[in-house]
């Protein structure tokens, strides 16, 4: 078994198992904690509707906060959009997902992906610099923040090396790329990258409580 | 199966290697004129799509001079419409192509008579002069014969 076979065979499989088990563990470990009923008289119905409202609306910045958060918000959005495009619109990735889930969708030309990828790496670096220099970020950051950054940027970096090669064999680079994704999958449920799903749970919780009150969300 | 239609060459979608080679030839001609430096392009080392080689050959065209060489199979040495640009095609005794080259030179080396052959030929001619006058033997013996 060579490195590529190991990467896309057992390594990826184990990573997916850990990802699934870890994610359920993390989410259910939260959802199955005690819940207290709310006896207050609702102003509006909160529930699922309220949850969905905030899940959607918190994706946008309130005008009151725009000027003070323009830079980090722009970085944040750009990073997420960049990751989204490179992950889901690079054709070999689409082929990968098709192999896993049987779904197919149109992709973008490689040069567009390379461009977006390089921009995304640059943004990732800007995000890191901000975390390491901004007084607030410096204070509140911990190992999870830095490691999650590393684990997120690694597949991007290993992916972008592939067209350049640096004299390294394609299959080796592909294997390293897949291994970096495996690392991401393994880490995701155990660090802050779990916000992939907690963003919905947290926003939904707030939505169902505050929409019920008619309070600002 | 009857409604399968031939598809016209799809390679108008990609420029392939034809254009880059033509550019390369222009630079090679410059080098030939300025520095007297010849260039050989081995077409076997380049990846060609279907029909591309024919396109290249067509673009270069047929010039004033075409030579045929018979040695270990047939070879064609042809000047293209662009003087100094030669199209060489070597075949083996089975008529399979064994090499295709574009040479940018005043005359390809293979056209030149080689010293070894000249020497051998000269020796042969000398031998034939030292022999009895023609007419004593049959015509076949008079043919130049490689040793």
């Amino acid at each position: 078994m060579d490195l590529l076979e190991f990467a896309r065979g057992p390594a990826l499989q184990v990573a997916i198992y850990i990802f699934i088990a870890g994610s359920l563990w993390r989410v259910l470990g939260v959802l199955w904690l005690q819940k207290k009923p709310d006896h207050s008289a609702a102003r509006h119905s909160g529930g699922i509707g309220g949850a969905l409202k905030v899940i959607w609306s918190r994706g946008f910045t309130a005008p009151a906060f725009k000027s003070r958060t323009m830079y980090p918000k722009t970085l944040g959005y750009a990073l997420h959009i960049g990751l989204f495009i490179t992950v889901f619109f690079f054709i070999p990735h689409i082929v990968f997902f098709k192999g896993l889930f049987g779904l197919n969708w149109p992709g973008l030309p490689n040069n567009v992906i390379y461009f977006v990828g390089v921009v995304t790496v640059a943004i990732g670096i800007a995000v890191l610099i901000r975390r390491m220099t901004h007084p607030v970020m410096k204070l509140i950051s911990n190992f999870d923040d830095y490691f999650s950054w590393f684990v997120t940027l690694l597949p991007l970096a290993t992916g972008l090396i592939m067209p350049i090669r640096f004299g390294i064999r394609y299959e080796t680079l592909l294997a390293v790329h897949i291994l970096s994704v495996a690392l991401l999958l393994i880490w995701l449920p155990f660090g802050k990258l779990a916000h992939t799903y907690f963003v919905f749970i947290s926003r939904g919780t707030t939505g169902s409580i505050l929409v019920r009150r008619g309070a600002k969300t | 199966m009857s409604n399968i239609e031939p598809v016209s060459s799809p390679f108008h979608y990609t420029r392939g290697n034809v254009e880059p080679i033509l550019h390369e030839i222009v630079h090679a001609l410059d080098r030939l004129l300025e520095d007297d430096e010849p260039t050989v392009i081995d077409l076997a080392s380049l990846p060609f799509g279907p029909g591309e080689l024919d396109q290249l050959e067509e673009r270069l065209g047929v010039g004033e001079l075409t030579a045929e060489l018979n040695a270990l199979g047939r070879s064609i040495i042809r000047e293209t419409v662009y003087p100094g640009v030669w199209w060489l095609e070597h075949r083996n005794t089975e008529c399979d192509i064994v090499g295709r080259y574009i040479e940018i030179t005043r005359a390809p080396e293979i056209l030149m008579s080689q010293d070894a052959d000249i020497g051998a030929g000269r020796a042969q001619l000398g031998d034939s002069l030292e022999r009895p006058a023609p007419g004593d033997n049959n015509g076949a013996d008079n043919e130049p014969r490689p040793n």
Partner: protein
Amino acid sequence: MKDIPTLGDILQARGVSRRGFLKYCSATASLLALPPAMVPQIANALEQARRPSVIWLSFQECTGCTESLTRSSSPTLEGLIFDTISLDYHHTLQAAAGEAAEAARHAAMEENNGNYLVLVDGSIPLGNPGFSTIAGMSNYDMLMETVEGAAAVVAIGSCAAFGGIPGANPNPTGAVSVRDLVKDKPVINVPGCPPIPMVITGVLAQYLTFGQLPELDRHGRPMAFFGQTIHDRCYRRPFYEQGKFAETFDDEGARLGWCLFKLGCKGPITYNACATMKWNSGTSFPIEAGHPCLGCSEPGFWDKGGFYNAVSTGEIGSGTALAGAAAAGVAIGAAAAAMSRARQKKTIKEG
């Protein structure tokens, strides 16, 4: 050795002119992917070269490699056998049979002790010596006996180089490659199923020309022929970069000759010369015929997932395993929540 004529002598004896020789040399340069500027050096070397004795052993194989070899055009098989090498033993090609054939092998080994080349096609079964025998001798014994006095061994085809199809899962005969067995001699792998004919002859020509073993990659393959991937040299590469792919074998993309990546082309991870040397006297190669590369010159190509699965696909694992992982997650999550609740109760009580 002194009675072995040089290649120059042979060609001269056959009445080949200097021009013919130069043509032969440029074809050789082309074959070895050497720049045309090296033709004089090659000419010089070839003039002095003496053709080596070659013993060709065929084990668990399909004769496809020999078939391929017979399609070589530069040099032709005849040219190869008569001019370039002295092929002293080859089941399929030799006239001798039975004990005479084995005697020829032994004679060649004795006469050229330490200098002959052994070419092997087919893998060697280790499971049971009886799985494949020649003249009552197991493949293993014959290989080991023959390589004893060899200068080098060339493993022709993916079976000899990597175990190939006989070695594919579940490998019923316990097939192994030449390299698995021959440790004390240089082994050059010329994989492919079959290898490109010109690559087989090219390796021999290179040995003949320079009298030394070529530079090899990590799988023991000559860099001259296996230095680049099919993908890197593929004329369809621009379509890959533009994101134009054939989705099926009969769609518009397939007709327009778009990239076959999605149809499982192993070009990106396959090192071979198909895209430039091509097959059938330089006519075309599989991708040009509209079929993805199978990656036949790579180790274990038969077991690397389906031929039509794209290189970038991964394995998600079985449904059972996924369900198991999910169940484990649910169980741990429930346990964690229960544990936290119990702990909460305890802390509240203690407080």
